[in-house]
């Protein structure tokens, strides 16, 4: 069994990350998933949130939204629509987006709800990730 996982994060426009990790936490659509080496093959839709991983003593995190994650016993591949590193996050912009979206949510119709909800979650994840830095 492999000691570490090969972790790869790609978005439609570029490869964001390629490295190794001993543990990966994936924000799945049904909640957070912890993955250790030797995990059963699994395929999940991604929700919105922080992708966290640790390797040795170091930890890393990315804010991701949308897409899929494929887990193999020795590898995790994340296909995200959005993937941002912590220093790419504009906290002020996220705050104002959060306020706007939350205000809009109060009057939102059922069709708009999903999109707004995703905006809120993305903004929260961005703020959370930036705060944890």
């Amino acid at each position: 069994m492999a000691e570490t996982l090969r972790l790869e994060v790609v978005t439609p426009s570029r490869r964001v990350l390629e490295g190794r990790a001993s543990e990966v936490r994936i924000p799945g659509v049904l909640g957070e998933l912890g993955v250790l080496p030797g995990h059963t093959p699994l395929l999940t839709s991604l929700g919105t949130g922080e992708l966290k991983w640790s390797e040795g003593g170091t930890e890393g995190r990315l804010v991701v939204q949308g897409g899929f994650a494929e887990v193999q016993p020795d590898a995790v591949t994340v296909l995200a629509t959005i993937a941002e590193t912590v220093d790419q996050i504009d906290v002020e912009a996220a705050r104002s987006a959060l306020t706007d979206a939350e205000a809009a949510l109060k009057t939102a119709s059922a069709e708009e709800f999903d999109a707004l909800d995703a905006t809120v979650r993305l903004a929260q994840a961005r703020i959370g990730a930036a705060a944890a830095r």
Partner: protein
């Protein structure tokens, strides 16, 4: 024989043209680099997606509307050309090939979706039915165009308006080579999985479920395919323009050389003629 004045004028004009073609070559080279970057950056996602899809398609029995084969024979043929000209045989070859295929009834009941001004102009004066055209997409290609067009094709396909969608474009092979490619986009033909004896047979765990995942994977796959095609075509266009403008610059250089040679000869001939006149005039006086 042309006068020296005419020749200098022509030389000047060809030099002007050469400067323009040289500048266009340099611009195309810069744009090519950017287009190539877009191709390379988009590749990991496309490759991974197609690998995951291959694995899933291999292991699951689930069906999906986008995989469904129908025998209706109504087809959309998507033609990806360029918006601008002066790129050698880039558009002409593709369009001629498609017209030949259409005339040979490769797709008996095909309607065209044309992307790029060149294809749009070409098919406007011909008898083939065009259902949709885009005249400004290739000039300012963005990452949103693939998903937008992909969604349009999938809607036409799932609504039963068409039974197959094909896409024809210039594939970027290398700077010197572009390859006309005509391939089927819908229904999706799942990419073949790499045979891996160790993993074969072990099914994934799916979250939330296989059906839902397949329903999300397949559209993403189509969108990525379309985006890849657009990026490829854009890179091929710039490569083709760069090559043809390079050739034009070289030809202009040769023409300038030939004209300069002619100019010198004419000038010399004029001088010789004048000398002869003077000498023979002097001789006539001396006699």
């Amino acid at each position: 024989m042309p006068s020296t004045r005419d020749l200098t004028r022509r030389i000047r004009s060809v030099k002007g043209t050469q400067q323009i073609t040289k500048a266009m070559k340099m611009v195309a080279a810069a744009k090519l680099r950017r287009a190539q970057d877009a191709v390379t950056n988009a590749r990991p996602y496309a490759d991974t997606l197609s690998r995951v899809l291959a694995n899933v398609a291999d292991r699951t029995e689930e069906s999906h509307p986008l995989l469904e084969r129908r025998s209706g024979g109504r087809i959309w043929l998507v033609v990806v050309s360029s918006d601008k000209g002066l790129c050698g045989s880039f558009n002409a070859n593709l369009l001629r090939q498609i017209e030949r295929d259409l005339k040979k009834k490769r797709w008996p009941d095909a309607e065209l979706v044309v992307i790029g001004r060149k294809a749009s102009d070409y098919f406007r004066v011909r008898e083939f039915p065009v259902v949709h055209q885009e005249r400004d997409t290739m000039n300012q290609l963005s990452a949103a165009d693939g998903p937008r067009l992909g969604a349009m094709f999938m809607k036409a396909f799932t609504s039963g308006q068409v039974d197959e969608v094909w896409i024809a474009y210039n594939k970027f092979v290398s700077v010197l080579r572009q390859e006309i490619t005509i391939e089927q986009l819908l229904p999706i033909q799942p990419p073949a999985a790499e045979s891996n004896a160790e993993e074969a047979g072990t099914d994934y765990l799916y979250e939330p479920n296989a059906e839902g995942l397949l329903a999300a994977l397949l559209p993403a796959y189509v969108e990525t395919e379309v985006q890849t095609v657009l990026y490829d075509s854009a890179a091929a266009e710039q490569a083709s323009r760069m090559t043809s403008m390079g050739a034009a610059t070289k030809n202009a250089g040769e023409m300038i050389d030939a004209l300069t040679m002619l100019y010198n000869r004419t000038r010399q001939a004029a001088i010789t003629k004048e000398l002869i006149e003077i000498v023979s005039g002097a001789q006539a006086l001396g006699d």
